[in-house]
Symmetry: C2
Amino acid sequence: MQRSLPDQPCSVARTLDIIGDRWTALVLRDIAIGIARFDAIQGDLGLSRKVLTQRLNDLVEHGVLVRVEYQDNPPRYDYRLTEKGNDLLMVLLSLQQFGDKWAYDGEPPIAWRHLSCAQISTPVACCDHCGEQVRPGDAIPERGPSFDDAAAPAVGEALDAIAAAFA
Amino acid sequence: MQRSLPDQPCSVARTLDIIGDRWTALVLRDIAIGIARFDAIQGDLGLSRKVLTQRLNDLVEHGVLVRVEYQDNPPRYDYRLTEKGNDLLMVLLSLQQFGDKWAYDGEPPIAWRHLSCAQISTPVACCDHCGEQVRPGDAIPERGPSFDDAAAPAVGEALDAIAAAFA
């Protein structure tokens, strides 16, 4: 049986529905650094007006961007990140960090300066309970509130095996 | 001028080259939770053998997975994450957290238990210098060691504008 992707109960897949297109990620990157007007984005990325229009419309529809008029005659708009869009930026930051390390050998094109400590920062994942850094292997997956064993039986079995191994 | 994506000096785009395909993300999710043999992955995800073979080969070629023989007659393999693959898991975690919040309304299919504190954990990004949580807007982008103004002049101008605004 060939299942279609939207059947997968997976938060990762849902996020990739928004961000998985490479142009979309670059459009968001541009808007986040202030390249927020249609012509400016188009000029920077060199993609077609048609593709850019479609990507921006998708992001507005997903609630990631809002369109704000900055001139009324003729009407012209720029794009701003919503709260959801800002959360998505944090996802982009993690994509960037991986690429910085593995594709740019730690010599990234863009660095981030943390305003409160004024240092160049490479944020790490920390537990929201104990504050300790969470590295791969430091946490184990288990059924969350909306897990559906009927929809993903093999995943359920795998989670049981992990629970047994760490019991 | 229509530029092709690989010209974009962007760590985000480089990471999406590996992870942007939705099947690939699900394949990695499966391997991370111990569904690591070809037939098991195929059974869980219901994708075609041809597509799965191709995605696994790509991940091995990217250095994200290694193929390990677990039976020699006939030869059978399972797939394990490399160090690079484990780093990619942290990216998947951030994709998952965004989807948990925005697509599953905080009621996720999968939860993570932090082994050292035994709590269900939703890791947050923390500055690797001062340890403080880094929220959207808490850090500003600037030129990194491999930034190329000639390749991305509009990005360079945007970074100058941000630097001026926060000077």
